[in-house]
């Protein structure tokens, strides 16, 4: 080894060491940098404001809503050339999960979608949503909402999101199948059971249900509970001032198991997602489907669904139960999703301005274009609305009470117990008595 070579080696060594140090510093610095700025929107790039919006209307499963959102955003961007709105679209369950992950790291999008009451509470208490009262009382939105819709989004006297949907849950039914087996629309539970019996005897799945998602089965329980024990008892049991021990509520649980025993629901429902369950109904294989009015586009406006199918879909109110305390015009439903603005958004004012615009536009266009019932008042006089839609809207106008979906109403932990118990009840893994006890314990725990 020559001397010269050794010298070169030494300088080479310094060079390597220096470079490595530089590299590792860069890594550390870039590591620290990320995460802190990820809070959604930002100003920059020639004064353009980017608003990030996360929603749950994928093109595939909510075609009409998805189209409408894009349309509203396009128009807004055209009117406000300095604003760019980025959409991030997730499917329902994924959306809920992502929202939680983002909140844990304090990186919520500027604008996003939330559900009311118990679902919203942890976010509001964590100071993640900004109050929207100024919009609510502003010139564009004052008195525009259907009474009772924004209240579900209020906590401690402040409203933290603006509802954009109002939902009730009818039982949709396939008129062609009903006609084929000479069935009439059931007005009582006994008639419903007779229809179920007839359909099951002929090998047709009476009711489409995908209970892997669990809230789907919850709708059935909620209705039976309301019809048997009455709206007040159910409400009190859920908020903890009453109890799930109520004999009417236990009877509702046992009615569920009676229906399961009669093969009222499509086969394997506990392992199928709501979409899979729904496809039984959409493919003419099941006769009935209990679901929120957010499904209306599929039966009215969605061009991807054949008109012949849409024409044979009707709906009826959940049947009465003999001797029950419920009311035919009591619905399970409530304001659907609402829009929130993140408290930590750097472009809060711009985000709020867009939300205001969105709610107004959505209120006007969702009726005719998407077939969704908005939370703002609907003028049915204009436009040529599908009959199913108008009928349901009338049903909504006659509503004597709307009981908010249990899993939305309850606090997160109790909601999970409720949902698990629903699956267990439908799967006959618990008795109605155990079902009641588990609910009671979860609600008493208070989280």
């Amino acid at each position: 080894m020559s001397n010269e070579y050794g010298l070169r080696k030494r300088s080479h060594r310094k060079w390597v060491a220096g470079l490595t140090l530089l590299l590792s510093l860069m890594l550390v610095l870039s590591g620290c940098g990320a995460g802190k700025d990820g809070k959604g929107g930002s100003e920059g790039e020639g004064g353009k404001i980017t608003l990030k919006m996360m929603h749950l209307w994928p093109e595939g499963s909510s075609a009409q809503q998805s189209k409408l959102v894009t349309q509203i955003i396009d128009q807004y961007e055209k009117d406000h050339p300095n604003v760019v709105i980025q959409q991030e679209v997730l499917e329902n369950e994924q959306y809920k999960n992502k929202l939680k992950v983002l909140s844990a790291s304090n990186e919520l999008p500027d604008i996003g979608i939330t559900w009311a009451a118990g679902f919203m509470e942890p976010y509001v208490k964590g100071g993640l949503f900004t109050p929207m009262d100024d919009l609510l009382n502003g010139s564009k939105l004052k008195d525009k909402f259907v009474p009772g819709t924004t209240e579900a989004y209020a906590l401690n006297g402040k409203t933290y999101a603006l509802p954009i949907e109002l939902n009730i849950s009818p039982i949709y039914y396939n008129k062609a199948i009903f006609q084929k087996y000479n069935l009439k629309v059931p007005a009582t539970l006994d008639e419903l059971k007779q229809a179920v019996q007839t359909l099951a005897d002929h090998g047709v799945a009476p009711i489409a249900l995908g209970n892997k998602d669990r809230w789907t089965g919850s709708l059935w329980y909620m209705y039976l509970a309301e019809r048997i024990a009455g709206n007040e008892t159910l409400k009190k049991a859920i908020d903890g001032s009453g109890s799930f021990d109520d004999p009417g509520l236990i009877q509702a649980a046992s009615e569920i198991q009676t229906l399961v025993d009669m093969n009222a629901f499509n086969k394997g429902f506990n392992g199928l997602s709501n979409d899979e369950g729904k496809s039984e109904f959409m493919n003419d294989k099941a006769a009935m489907y209990l679901m929120g009015t957010w499904e209306l586009p599929n039966f009215t406006t969605n061009p991807a669904i054949p008109q012949a199918f849409k024409d044979q879909i009707g709906f009826f109110k959940f049947p009465m139960v003999a001797g029950g305390k419920g009311n035919e015009n009591s619905w399970v439903g409530g304001p659907g999703v609402g829009l929130f603005v993140s408290e930590n958004s750097k472009v809060k004012e711009e985000a709020k301005a867009f939300v205001e615009y969105f709610v107004v536009q959505w209120g006007e266009q969702s009726v005719t274009q998407a077939g969704v019932i908005p939370a703002t008042k609907v003028d049915t006089s204009k436009g040529d609305l599908p009959k199913l839609y108008v009928d349901l809207l009338n049903g909504l106008n006659q509503a004597s009470s709307i009981t908010l979906f249990a899993d939305v109403q309850m606090k997160p932990n109790a909601a999970q117990v409720h949902l698990n118990m629903i699956q267990a009840l439908f799967g006959k893994a618990v008795t109605p008595q155990q079902f009641a006890e588990q609910h009671k314990a979860a609600i008493e725990k208070g989280n």
Binding site: S24, Y123, K212, P412, Q423, A424, A429
Partner: protein, 293 residues
Amino acid sequence: MEKVMSNKLVIALYVLPSLLLLLAVIYVPIVLTGYYGLNQWNGIGPMTFVGLDNYQHLFTDTAFWQSAWHSLLLALFSGVSLIGYLVIAMILSGNIKGANLLRKIYLIPMLLSSVAIAQLWLKMYHPTNGVLNSLLASLGVHNPPEWLANPSLVLPALFIPIIWQYAGFYILIYYAGLKNIPETLVEAARIDGASAWQIATRIKLPLLREVINVTIILSIVGSLKYFDLIYVMTDGGPNGASEVMASYMYHQAFRSFDFGYGSATAFALLLICLVATWLIRKATASGDTIQYS
């Protein structure tokens, strides 16, 4: 270059970036998770320190033990299926006809993401339209089982796709291990009149021992923390019948908003995996190292 590499400062500098990354991405979160487990926290609001409450609750939480039992069953099941993989790898390495094609067939599931596999098997298991039940129906079974909705069938129904998913991976490892065994040894045995069975059990298996030990650890630890396919296919349902430790942790933290308890579960899962690894190492350790001579 040798001088550079033996300089302690340089070694430290070379190791530093990846060490920092490893610390930041793996070890710090582990410590933090353990710490979160000591708190009552909904993930958003303020934390309340509750000491070991969450960990104590784990011991009495039947739902957790049920999920741990399911994870253990999966670990046993995948442990046993390693034997099958090994047999297949032995056959494939034996220069049979079409071995190349078969090897590719076994490997394909490895190329698919878990979610795609889950969707595929969801279709297979569909109670009315699924391939499986249609087949059973055509064979005259009147009431084919509801695979994913039946609490007593759901676990085996989930284990099969998991085994299928990982078959290629383990077969590949075994195959590589077998190909590493010098042909001369096998030839010598053959000349001495050893049967194929004798060659497999007396020569190939002992020489493959280290590889087998590694796969046992991989498959058991992998099973204990398994999550994705189960999450997509059943979400732990119906009513917890297919809940495993990882999905239980996820549900506690992200569904019930109980991050403290979820973190405690995660930490317990880590400890269980560490103990399992240690036990397996203990059980499979051998004093003598193998030398090809």
